[in-house]
């Protein structure tokens, strides 16, 4: 097993790393100004010229880019290269609005694969592994992105894509998958399906590690997965606009390393756009330093996180984004209180009697918001005394109230009645007509 994919880059002293960023940023600004009419207009409107960007600190002079910009210029209005330079398109699902299109040059695909190869190496995945990829292939970036990264890292890839769960489990056993890459929701679904078929992940497979992401999940969920399967569960990060899955945690499981030679990270106050103080929570903003087809300047990712430049236990100097509550656009406002589904998950997964699945339902009754959380119970926790069950509902309600500062109605539902997901799980139903 190799320890670093590229030790010179991954362990580069921070001041050198920042010099690399500075140089690439200056080149990038010039490049997009010359090649993308969109950015030229955007910079001109903001009164900023490429020559104004001389140091890293000057990045704040540049205007932000938003998902809306990609939608408004659909399909390829922000691209910096003509079609004959592209080798691939990916298109987002468009679940929250018009889909966004991302194009890639050959170099873009290589940089994307390298980013993941570094990340996979940092969790000890490589040549000896069989990686089963249960992310969807096709327009979604998860499957193909992971596929190329895993091949680059030297894995033997089993491209199962998502769905067909019985066959996934059968192949996992027959071909000895050691790594599973999928959404945490889908892994839970697979564990449950395997258990129903009398198959234990722990005893009947060689699985040792999961690379899980594409939806927010909590530390408590990680503990559940690790305890029930015996595998190590690692968080992976990326968005389709940046490329797709790009970064993971390292073996320290303490934040996701963002490769600073390829990406410039800022954390800002989402309301004012100002940078937050070091170690403070804010919205993640990323500038792609090496992308050719669709570079993004100060792209507002929407995830709420904390940036950490401290050198990691693993010896890597690149900054980490720390797991926090979720995305700014996942946030619910219930009776004026901010609620992240991730907070709810953290609370629930910490209560052993509660099962893995939940649903948040928000209604407005007589001008008042009512939040309900539906949960299933672990079979082992079932008591046939009504009072025990009511006590459990009360216990969960009190724990949620303690964290959210909001009264929540807890409803226990039958095992199997909450939706299981093979992709990104839907965990909120908001019935309010606002």
């Amino acid at each position: 097993m190799i320890e670093y994919w590229n030790p010179q880059i991954e362990r580069m002293p921070v001041d050198e790393l920042k010099k690399v960023q500075e140089q690439k940023l200056c080149q990038l600004v010039k490049y997009v100004y010359e090649h993308s009419p969109f950015y030229k207009k955007r910079f001109d409107d903001a009164g900023v010229k490429p020559e104004d960007i001389k140091t890293l600190n000057d990045v704040t002079k540049l205007p932000f880019t938003f998902k809306k910009d990609l939608r408004d210029t659909y399909p390829t209005g922000m691209f910096c290269v003509p079609n004959n330079k592209l080798v691939r398109f990916h298109v987002s699902s468009g679940t929250t609005g018009k889909p966004t299109v991302v194009g890639y040059t050959d170099n873009d695909i290589k940089a994307w694969s390298t980013s993941l190869a570094r990340a996979l190496t940092s969790i000890g995945v490589g040549r000896d592994d069989v990686m089963q990829i249960g992310y969807g292939y096709g327009l979604f970036t998860g499957g193909l992105g992971m596929h190329y990264g895993a091949e680059e890292a030297g894995c033997t890839v089993l491209p199962t894509s998502s769905g067909n769960t019985d066959r996934q489990i059968e192949l996992m056993q027959d071909l000895g998958s050691t790594v599973i890459a999928c959404t945490p929701s889908y892994l839970l679904f697979m564990i449950e399906a395997a258990r129903d078929a009398g198959i234990s992940f722990q005893n009947d497979t060689k699985l040792r590690l999961g690379v899980l992401g594409a939806e927010p999940w909590s530390e408590e969920m990680r503990k559940r997965i690790e305890d029930s399967t015996g595998i190590k569960a690692y968080d992976i990060f990326g968005t389709s606009e940046l490329s797709g899955p790009l970064f993971t945690e390292c073996q320290s499981q303490n934040g996701i390393h963002i490769w600073a030679d390829q990406f410039l990270v800022e954390v800002i106050n989402p309301d004012t756009g100002e940078p937050v103080a070091n170690g403070e929570r804010g919205e993640l903003v990323i500038t792609t330093l090496v992308k050719e087809a669709l570079p993004l300047i100060r792209y507002r990712i929407g995830d709420i996180t904390v940036l950490n430049w401290d050198e990691c236990e693993c010896g890597r100097t690149h900054p980490r984004i720390m797991r926090v509550l979720g995305r700014a656009d996942d946030m619910l406002i219930v009776r004026g209180i901010n609620v992240f589904p991730g907070q709810v998950e953290s609370v629930l997964m910490d209560i052993p009697e509660v099962g893995e699945h939940f649903m948040i339902i928000v209604d407005r009754v007589n001008e008042l918001d009512i939040m309900k959380v539906q949960i299933e119970m672990n079979d082992a926790a079932f008591s046939d005394k009504v009072t025990d069950i009511i006590d459990l509902e009360k216990k969960v309600g009190a724990a949620l109230k303690g964290v959210l500062n909001l009264a929540v109605k807890v409803e226990l539902v039958e095992h199997g009645s909450l939706p299981r997901s093979m992709g990104k799980a839907k965990k909120v139903i908001d019935n309010r007509k606002i």
């Binding site: 299933e376 119970m377 079979d379 079932f382 008591s383 046939d384 005394k385 009504v386 069950i389 009511i390 409803e411 226990l412 539902v413 039958e414 095992h415 199997g416 009645s417």
Partner: protein, 145 residues
């Protein structure tokens, strides 16, 4: 002492139409006969408790159908079908400070009445009822009722 206890099947069900029909259908398919049955309802959900002729098979059928189900040891107390019997049994237990968590009763074709109880101290209850010469059902009795 275990032979004096009977296995009750309990399951969690949401309080909505079709749930009981679903459970009953599963039993019909598997040839499981219900001897005694009760639903404790608590708003959104209910707990269905029953004594059946083949509890292990019932547990498997319900579990495989995806229900949250458990087996609990309860007592089946045989009573003469005459006034005063329930009072006598309740007295025997209360003298030993044993609490009845829940109870339900039925009358059989042999003109006996049976009381199914879950208590907070099942061993204590078996002893107290034995000492009072009260007969307890075993699983054989349940099968033959």
């Amino acid at each position: 002492m275990e032979e004096k206890m009977i296995k009750q099947i309990s399951l969690f069900a949401e309080n909505k139409p079709g749930r009981l029909a679903n459970i009953a259908e599963k039993f019909k398919e598997s040839g499981i006969n219900i001897r005694a049955f009760t639903i404790a309802e608590a708003g959104d959900f209910g707990i269905i408790r029953m004594v059946v002729d083949n509890p292990d098979s019932a547990h498997k059928v319900l579990h495989d159908a995806g229900f949250t189900v458990s087996e609990t040891n309860v007592l089946g107390v045989e009573m003469e079908d005459v006034p005063g019997q329930l009072a006598m049994i309740a007295d025997v237990l209360s003298e030993k400070d044993i609490n009845i968590d829940y109870a339900y009763a039925f009358v059989t074709k042999t003109e006996k009445a049976f009381l199914i109880i879950r208590v907070n101290d099942i061993r204590g209850a078996v002893k107290a009822l034995d000492d009072a010469k009260v007969r307890l059902l075993d699983m054989g009795d349940v099968h033959d009722i």
